[in-house]
């Protein structure tokens, strides 16, 4: 290898569109002598090196990715020309039900919300790869069961489903 493991991983993570898991990295390197541990160690070393830098490697549900540290939001916001990422209430309620009650069918969502599910919302969630079909319910018509994906967690900077805020039963309004 022309570069150190650290430098190689740094480059791969920066080139990638998506977070890379340890397994992804091992597959790309295609070298049996490199263990997961070594890669984890290399990532630690990189983060050590970045101590004073404004970037770092962060671990989310689907793997490792670079993120900006706090402190430059003002500049980055100017750079990004972003929309405000506001979601409609219907969208948020739908994803909340799927996230917290998965696996759920469309019918389950309708039952809770008391109103027909907007197919565009389901389609968007599938295209965003925030949800996927995880199976079919054993009932007439074999409706699809939806669950959330690691990409959904990535978007919110979470590692696993249990990192989502806890919700409790409601007994008064």
């Amino acid at each position: 290898m022309k570069y150190t493991l650290e430098n190689t991983i740094e480059c791969l993570l920066l080139v990638s569109d998506e977070p890379l898991s340890l397994i992804n990295i091992i597959k790309i390197l295609d070298d049996n002598s490199i263990s997961k541990k070594q890669i984890e160690k290399a990532i630690d070393n990189l983060n050590q090196e970045y101590k004073n830098k404004a970037i770092h490697i962060s671990k989310v549900a689907s793997g490792y990715r670079y993120q900006a540290k706090n402190g430059l939001e003002g500049y980055i916001a100017k750079l990004k020309d972003k929309g405000t990422n506001k979601f409609s209430k219907a969208f948020l309620e739908t994803i909340a039900i799927i996230a917290y009650k998965q696996p759920v069918t469309r019918g389950d969502i309708e039952e809770i919300r008391g109103i027909a599910v907007n197919s565009n919302i389901i389609r968007t969630l599938i295209e965003l790869e925030w949800i996927k079909v995880v199976g079919h319910k054993e009932s007439p018509g074999k409706p699809e069961l939806f669950g959330t994906t690691t990409k959904f967690l990535d978007y919110f900077n979470k590692n696993k489903l249990s990192d989502l805020p806890e919700i409790s039963d409601v007994d008064s309004i």
Partner: protein
């Protein structure tokens, strides 16, 4: 008349968001244009959401849901929506009949022989609480820090030379049109924008004006017009210019009155 009834419903404390502004405390004499009312009505995510609102507004203890007044208010609301020819989802009517059914059950004399007769309201109360639970969850999700708003992901940061000759994709014109129609449908889900179909000729002219200006200091206003295009062409160019000014992409400059007008890139 219709407005007054609605007034009752909205005045208390509904905080409907219209164009990002809260319109909760509107002076009483202010006329609300129908399209604003529509926005207020659209704030409800379904019959359960509407019921929750009515219950909250009256500070009712949900475990002792007074079906009669709630049903009346609910029906009142539905009739306003119908009067406004608001496209009412069937689910609202289903709820109306559920309420009516519960009401009639409550009016029936209690038959003592059936032990442990369930309260007809129990199921509805359960659904309301369940819905409130997920409404809370959706607000929590909305508050979670998210990419591009609260933190920034570095993705695809490195340019990689393309070695292969690019292959031209095989796209049919209808696919393009359908893709755009799809995207517009989807855009409704993200609530921050309104998309209006504009005539393509104006959009095209905007692009061509910008192209003409690229790398130049300015262009004389009159040179942007091609008289051979006739009246329609002139109008299209003019509209495109106005649109460019509106989007702050170009400036129109005239040093003194009656002198030449120039267009510059902002």
């Amino acid at each position: 008349m219709m407005l007054i009834k609605l007034w009752d419903l909205i005045l208390n404390n509904i905080t409907a968001i219209y164009n990002g502004k809260t319109i909760s405390d509107i002076p009483e004499d202010l006329f609300i244009p129908p399209e604003h009312l529509r926005v207020i009505l659209e704030e409800f995510e379904g019959p359960l959401d509407l019921l929750l609102y009515l219950i909250k507004k009256q500070n009712i203890d949900i475990t002792d849901l007074p079906i009669l007044p709630i049903t009346e208010q609910y029906m009142q609301y539905i009739s306003i929506m119908e009067e406004m020819q608001f496209e009412l989802a069937a689910d609202y009517l289903v709820m109306a009949s559920t309420l009516a059914e519960i009401k009639s059950k409550l009016l029936l004399p209690v038959e003592s022989e059936s032990e442990e007769e369930e309260d007809p309201r129990a199921n509805l109360i359960k659904r309301l609480l369940e819905y409130q639970k997920y409404k809370n969850a959706s607000e929590q999700i909305d508050d979670m820090s998210r990419n591009y708003r609260d933190f920034f992901v570095v993705s695809n940061a490195i340019d990689v030379k393309k070695s292969k000759i690019i292959e031209v994709p095989d796209i049919k014109i209808d696919q393009l049109k359908n893709a755009f129609a799809d995207v517009l449908k989807r855009a409704e889900i993200f609530s921050t924008h309104n998309i209006i179909a504009e005539t393509l000729s104006v959009r095209e002219r905007m692009t061509s004006i910008l192209s003409k200006l690229e790398g130049k200091e300015n262009i004389e206003f009159i040179k942007l017009f091609n008289m051979e295009e006739g009246r329609l062409g002139v109008i299209v160019t003019f509209l495109a210019l106005l649109e460019l000014v509106k989007e702050s992409l170009v400036d129109i400059i005239q040093n003194e009155s009656m002198s030449k007008i120039y267009i510059t890139i902002k």
